[in-house]
Symmetry: C2
Subunit: 413 residues, 2 copies
C-alpha cells in the first residue's frame, strides 16, 4: 500500500527518525535496517519556506510563534500536558518528536505508511485527503515546567520567565483544578476541525510514555474574513484588538522582551479562562441590560454614544459596571483570541453548557492581565451571567528557526 | 436601534406573531398595539422559493425534509426534547413557532429587535453577520410522542408510523439512558458551527414552557466536496451511499411509503447510535488489523481485492468479521449520515473521549437497520475498538409545504 503524496513527495525520514517515531507510537517491533525504506516515509511538500507557502499553510518558523497574532482560525483545541518523567533527556526526545510532527502537519503533509502492514500506521489517517487548513500549533509552558513543589525537575528553574506564576485566586470564580494549569500547553488552531483534531490527537499519541493529558478543550468561532466574531451572548468579541494591529502595537502589547531570559524575548504570555455563560438567563434579559453589561450596542458593536465598532470609547457614556468601561479604566491593553464552546446539556440543571474560552496574549500578565481580571471579577456586570470554571497561565517562547526543536533554548545551553 | 436587514427587509411579523414569540421568549411584558410596529420585525429575504435560493440556502420546503439526503454539511447538533405538556394545543403552538423560526433561519434571516430595548431581543444575535450556511433543520418523532407508558397523551396514537419503536437491546452495548431516546428529535446541520448552534439554541429557547431538552449532541465532519469524509479511525465513512445515489435508489432505501400513515409517506426513519471509539487502542493496532476490521484499504477506501473506493465489494476477499462483509451479508442498504465527535478527556481513564455519531436514514428500520445492527453488535471486529453509548429511533415526517407547520398532518385532521 502506498499513500499518495499530496505534493512533491521527495522528502523522507531517516532511519533514526523512523525508529524514534515508531517507538513512540508504541509498536513493539524491532526492524532490521534492510526493510526500512519500504516501511515508512514521510510525505511532505518540498517548499517549506514562508514565501512559498500557499494560502492554506502557515509556517511553523519565524521570529514569533504562529497562532498568537495570526488571524483567528475557525477551530481550536487547547491541550494541557503533565510531563511524567523527571529527566531532561526524555523531555528533549518528546519535544523533538513534537517538532517533527508540527513541521510536517503545518506544511500539509502526513506521515506515510509503507508496505509493512504489521506495524501501526505512523499517522492516524483522518487528514489524508485534507489540506493544511491554516493549521498553527503554539506551545507554552506553565510554572510547574520550571519548578514543581519547589523541585527543579529538569534543571531549568534558573531560566524561568519573569512573570510566570499561577493566576491568583479571584472573587466569584469557581475553578475546576482538573481543567486548569499544566506543565505544557499546546494551542492547535485550523480552519477545519478534523485537521485541528488530527494534530492534537497525534501530539497526544506521540507523548505516550513521556506525558499525560490533563485536559483538552475545544472551541470554535465563526471566522468571517474582515469581521469581528461574535460570542454566544451575541456581542462582538475582540474589537479592541484593532487598537494595536501594527508591529509597534504588537511590540507594546504582545511580545515579551525586557528582563526576560533570551528564549522568551519575542514570546508572549497566554492567559486562559474558561468562562461558562448562563445563556438561558442572558436570553431572558432585556436588550438594554445586555448592552449596559458590555457598554456597547449589540448589533453594531459600537461603544455607547458612538456609531462605529472601532470608534474610540467615550468614557463619559459608559455605565459604571460595563465591561468596556472596566477594561479601559485599567489603562492596559491585551491581545484577545477567544473561542466559544458548547458541550451539550448540563445534567444538573438541564441548561445548555456553553460559554467562552477566553484567551489573551500579553507581554506582561502582572501589569496587563491580572489587574483587568481582578477589576472584572469584582465589578463587572457580566458576572451576573458568567462563571469562571478554569484558569491557566503559560509562557510561550519566541518563534522557532528551522532545525531547532520546541523549547531547545530552555533545555539546552 | 435598528438591525440591518441582510436582504430585502420587506417582510415583518404580524402582531399575533409578535405576541406569541415574545411570550415564548419569556418576556413578562404586555404591549399595547400602538408600539408594535416599532418593537419588532422579522428580517427575511423576500425570495423564499427554492429556485431563487442562493447556494448557501437550502429550502425548508419540499416533498421530503431537507437534511436527509442533502449532501452532508460540516456541523451537526442533534437535540432531543421531552414535551412537558399533555395537551395537543400547546404542542401545536410550539411546533408553529418552531416552524416560523426554521423558515426564517434557513433562509438566512434573523428575527429583528426594534427600538424598545426594555424587551429581551427576539434573536440571540450571534448570527447577525452570518449567512444561512446551508442550514437544514430536520424533525423526527420518537415512540413516546405517540404513546408514553400506554398513554395517548396527544390523541395521536392511531397515527403512529408502522415501524417506530425503541431499538431492541443489543449485546455489548453500554447505553446511557440520559443520552438516548426522546419525544422529538431535531437535527440541525450547517457549514458553520455558530449558525448551527444559533438554530438549536433558539429552538431550545422557543420551547421554554413546552418542552425540556433531554440531550444535545454535537458533531463534525470534514466535508470536502466530492470526497467521502473519513471517520476518526482514519477510514472513509459513507462510501456505500453511492449505491443508491439516484431517485429510484432513494425510493428503495430512504423514503417510507407502503403501509404508512399519510404524513409518513415520503418521510424516513432516523436511527441514531452514539459510538465511543477507543482511539488509543486503535492507534496501537497494526495497519493490517485496522484494514481487516473494515475489509477495506485505509487510504483508498477500496474493498479488499479492489482498487477503487466505489468498486463493488468482492465477498470472497472479505475477512469473516469485517465490517463491510457483515453489512453486505444482510443484503440491506441504509443511507448513512454520520458525524464525528470529540469531547475532551475522559476523567476516568485519561483517554480522549471521541467517536462516531452514527446516523442512518431508512424506510424500514426493522428490515434494513436492526438486522444489520444485530449482526454487527455480535460479530463485528469493530466491537474491539468501540462501545455504543446512546441509541434512538425517530420517525421523520415527509416534507413541509409553505404555510404548513411541522407535524401538522399528525396533530390535525
Amino acid at each position: 500500500m502506498e499513500l499518495e503524496p499530496k505534493e512533491n513527495p521527495k522528502q523522507s525520514v531517516s532511519r533514526r527518525d523512523f525508529l524514534k517515531l515508531s517507538a513512540i507510537a508504541g509498536t513493539g517491533i524491532t526492524l532490521g535496517a534492510a526493510g526500512m525504506g519500504a516501511i515508512m516515509g514521510i510525505v511532505k511538500p518540498e517548499n517549506g519556506k514562508v514565501a512559498a507557502l500557499s494560502d492554506d499553510r502557515i509556517s511553523l518558523y519565524g521570529q514569533h510563534q504562529a497562532g498568537i497574532i495570526t488571524p483567528q482560525q475557525t477551530y481550536m483545541y487547547l491541550a494541557s500536558f503533565h510531563l511524567t518523567g523527571n529527566d531532561r533527556s526524555s523531555v528533549i526526545r518528546l519535544f523533538r518528536d513534537w517538532t517533527k510532527f508540527c513541521d510536517l502537519s503545518t506544511a500539509g503533509g502526513t506521515m506515510k505508511t509503507g508496505d509493512n502492514t504489521l506495524l501501526p500506521p505512523n499517522d492516524t489517517g483522518e487528514t489524508l485527503d485534507l489540506p493544511a487548513a491554516r493549521l498553527t500549533i503554539t506551545f507554552g509552558f506553565g510554572p510547574t515546567f520550571f519548578r514543581e513543589e519547589g523541585k527543579d525537575r529538569f534543571g531549568i528553574a534558573a531560566k524561568a520567565p519573569r512573570y510566570l506564576k499561577d493566576i491568583p485566586r479571584m472573587p466569584r470564580e469557581n475553578l475546576d483544578p482538573s481543567l486548569s494549569g499544566g506543565d505544557v500547553c499546546i494551542q492547535v488552531c485550523a480552519e477545519d476541525q478534523q485537521v485541528a483534531f488530527h494534530a492534537v490527537r497525534n501530539l497526544i499519541r506521540l507523548s505516550t510514555g513521556y506525558a499525560t493529558v490533563n485536559w483538552l478543550q475545544e472551541g470554535f468561532i465563526s471566522a468571517t474574513p474582515g469581521k469581528t466574531p461574535r460570542n454566544l451572548f451575541g456581542f462582538k468579541d475582540g474589537t479592541a484588538n484593532s487598537e494595536h494591529d501594527n508591529s509597534a502595537g504588537y511590540d507594546d502589547v504582545v511580545w515579551a522582551g525586557e528582563g526576560e531570559p533570551d528564549w522568551m524575548k519575542g514570546g508572549s504570555y497566554l492567559a486562559y479562562r474558561k468562562i461558562r455563560m448562563l445563556l438561558e438567563v442572558w436570553d431572558r434579559t432585556s436588550l438594554k441590560d445586555q448592552e449596559d453589561t458590555f457598554g456597547r450596542y449589540k448589533e453594531s458593536g459600537a461603544a455607547y454614544g458612538r456609531s462605529g465598532e472601532f470608534d474610540a470609547v467615550d468614557m463619559s457614556q459608559q455605565p459604571g459596571s460595563a465591561h468596556v468601561n472596566l477594561a479601559k479604566q485599567t489603562g492596559q491593553r491585551i491581545h484577545r483570541r477567544a473561542y466559544s464552546y458548547t458541550n451539550g446539556i448540563d445534567p444538573r440543571t438541564g441548561n445548555v453548557d456553553a460559554g467562552l474560552l477566553f484567551l489573551s496574549y500579553q507581554k506582561n500578565p502582572e501589569t496587563q492581565f491580572i489587574p483587568m481580571l481582578r477589576m472584572m471579577q469584582s465589578k463587572d456586570k457580566l458576572n451576573e451571567y458568567t462563571s469562571h470554571v478554569a484558569s491557566a497561565l503559560f509562557a510561550c517562547p519566541r518563534g522557532l528557526k528551522e532545525g531547532q526543536y520546541i523549547g531547545q533554548n530552555i533545555l539546552e545551553g
